[in-house]
Structure formats: structure tokens, C-alpha cells
Symmetry: C2
């Protein structure tokens, strides 16, 4: 069962990963910001930074998925839901001075060629997002194979937009991404209607 200390360590690490990445986040920084004794880190994560990292990746991925699902499910239809998700991403970028974007993208690129356990954790998160979005599009009537390709595209566009927006400190790329994503969803739904 998660303890308050364990939860604080996970929350703080997730925030540090999002802003500074995996390599740029130190264990001393984590315990300092979590206001936790150093020993508690190894008590909760005997495998050290790698074990903590894998759990943070899975947890952040799950929380982000739930956030997006909440936005999409609150909308009257999936097309509006996707549009709302991109609009919301632009608002969060502006409000956090372009710090809060994808919770796992920085880490995923850092670990892709350096840590198989962490790479696998990021792969599982992306696959869970793809499957979740695929179900949403299948639910809206898109054929399963096309729905999976559409889900992959939407995530690619969002991730690419986070990268360009953070680099440029501008939301132009997210606005363009929202247009491209909704056009792709609209085309897939129209394909369904024609069948």
C-alpha cells in the first residue's frame, strides 16, 4: 500500500522528470523536495533510481491517460473531445511557462538507448494510450485497424507539438496540431459514414 512518504517521493519525482528528465534529476534533489529522509527512498525503492523511475513512468502515464480520458469523455462526441484535449494542452503549456507537457517524453528519449527496463516501461505507457484511444474511436464507429492507426497518429501529433512548443515557447505548433488531429478524426469518421 502506498504510504504518504512514498506518494510524496513519486509525486516529486514525476514533476522533476517532466521538467528536467531522468538524467537531470538527482536522488538528493528528490528527497529534499519530498521532505523525506534519504533512507526512505531505498526503503520504498530497493532498486534505487531505476526502480523509482519505472514506477514513476507507469504512474505518470496512467494519470495522464486518465486526464485525457476525462476530457474526451466530458465532450459530447469524440471529435470535440480530441479538439478539447489539444486546446487544453495549449492552455497548460502557456500557464506553466512551457514546462508541463507530456510526463514521459523526455525520459522516454533519454532511456531509449540506455536502459531496457525503463524503455520497456515507456513503451508500455505509450501502448496503453494507443489502446485507450483506439477503443474510443472504435466506439465512435471507426473500424479497429483504422482506429489504431488514427490513435497512433493523434499521439504522434500531440507529442511532436509538445516538443515544438516547448522549444519555441509558443503555442502555434499546438494550434496547428489541434487542426491536423481533428481533420484526421473527421476524415476517419466520414470514412465510417460512407461504409
Amino acid at each position: 500500500m502506498p504510504t504518504p512518504t512514498k506518494d510524496r517521493i513519486l509525486d516529486v519525482t514525476a514533476e522533476l522528470f517532466r521538467r528536467y528528465g531522468y538524467t537531470g534529476t538527482g536522488l538528493k534533489q528528490i528527497v529534499a523536495e519530498a521532505n523525506a529522509p534519504f533512507g526512505s527512498l531505498y526503503h520504498h525503492f530497493p532498486g534505487g533510481k531505476q526502480e523509482l523511475g519505472a514506477e514513476v513512468i507507469r504512474r505518470s502515464g496512467q494519470m495522464y491517460f486518465e486526464l485525457i480520458a476525462t476530457i474526451v469523455l466530458a465532450a459530447p462526441d469524440v471529435l470535440t473531445g480530441i479538439a478539447d484535449a489539444f486546446t487544453g494542452a495549449a492552455v497548460v503549456l502557456r500557464e506553466t511557462d512551457y514546462a508541463d507537457a507530456c510526463p514521459i517524453a523526455t525520459v522516454a528519449l533519454e532511456v531509449a538507448s540506455t536502459s531496457e527496463p525503463l524503455r520497456e516501461a515507456t513503451a508500455q505507457v505509450f501502448e496503453s494510450w494507443i489502446r485507450g484511444l483506439t477503443e474510443a474511436f472504435v466506439g465512435a464507429g471507426v473500424e479497429r485497424d483504422a482506429a489504431r492507426r488514427l490513435a497512433i497518429s493523434i499521439i504522434e501529433i500531440l507529442e511532436g507539438a509538445f516538443l515544438l512548443c516547448r522549444a519555441a515557447k509558443s503555442t502555434e505548433a499546438m494550434e496547428v496540431a489541434g487542426e491536423t488531429a481533428t481533420a484526421a478524426v473527421r476524415a476517419a469518421l466520414a470514412g465510417t459514414a460512407r461504409d
Copy 2:
């Protein structure tokens, strides 16, 4: 004027950034792999890692742009050129065990909230890519404003695909990205034909 030692340092650093990122690349590792004396690094880059980093970002960005431009210009038309670029990206990912992807994406995410000079260097690279692609689409008859939005979309899709492919060690996401990107180019060219 670049010296052989300076060039070796830049080449080695670019390769290390691509695989391990900015934070994960140490100066000792750079001089060891470049077979250069430590002092030569500070001789050529008095500003240390940050100055070296900014030059590597600009240089890698320029070289990658030239690679993509060569592929696109070798094709009979811009639509085929974009398709070829995505196919080529998938081949390189497979052949390098998913290590060689975008030369600056990892660094761009790492530095976005930690170093303004390096963030600006990555922003300039992305903007140069956007402008280059915009000109290619304008040359194919797309109206300038639509051409810029299309260029941003294509780069977003490519970057998102690099992220998903490296995480999953699979080219599925790049194949989907190629389809999405060519569909977007085809739609923009068709819009032109209707005008």
C-alpha cells in the same frame, strides 16, 4: 575555421547527444571518444559544455535539414519526397537499433526548462526546418499560410513517430506517420488544384 580536432569533437558530441541526450553526455566521454586532449575542448569552446552544446545543436540541425532536403529534392515531386523521407527514417531506425532518430529532440526536451541559450538554439533549428519545408510546399503551389501549417504538421508527425518508435523498438508508428503525412500533403495539394 574548423580544425580536425574541433570537427571530431563536434561529430562525437552530436552522436552522443543523439543517443544519450545533453545531461547524459559527459565532457570526459567526449574527449575520450574524440581522441582529443581535454584542454582542446576548452580551447575550441571557452564557454564549455553549453557553448559546445549550442554549436552541436545548430550543426546537427543544419546537417539533418540538408539530408531531408536531399531526399525530398531527389524525388520527382514533393509528395513522393515526403513519403521517401518517412520510409528512410524507418530504415535508419531499424538499422541503428532505434538509436539514430532526430538529432536534437532529446536535447530540446532536456534543455527547454533548464537553459535559455540551448532552448533558443533548438527553437532556431526547428524554425529553420519549418521555413525550409514551407518553401518546398509553396514551390508546389500551396498558399504560404497553409504551407507553414503543413510544414509544422509534418515535423510534428515525424518527431512523434521517432519518440514512439524508439520507445517501442518498432517501426509501426513511422509507417503510420508516413501515411498520415502523405495524406496531409495530398490534401493540401488537392486544395491548391481546386483553387
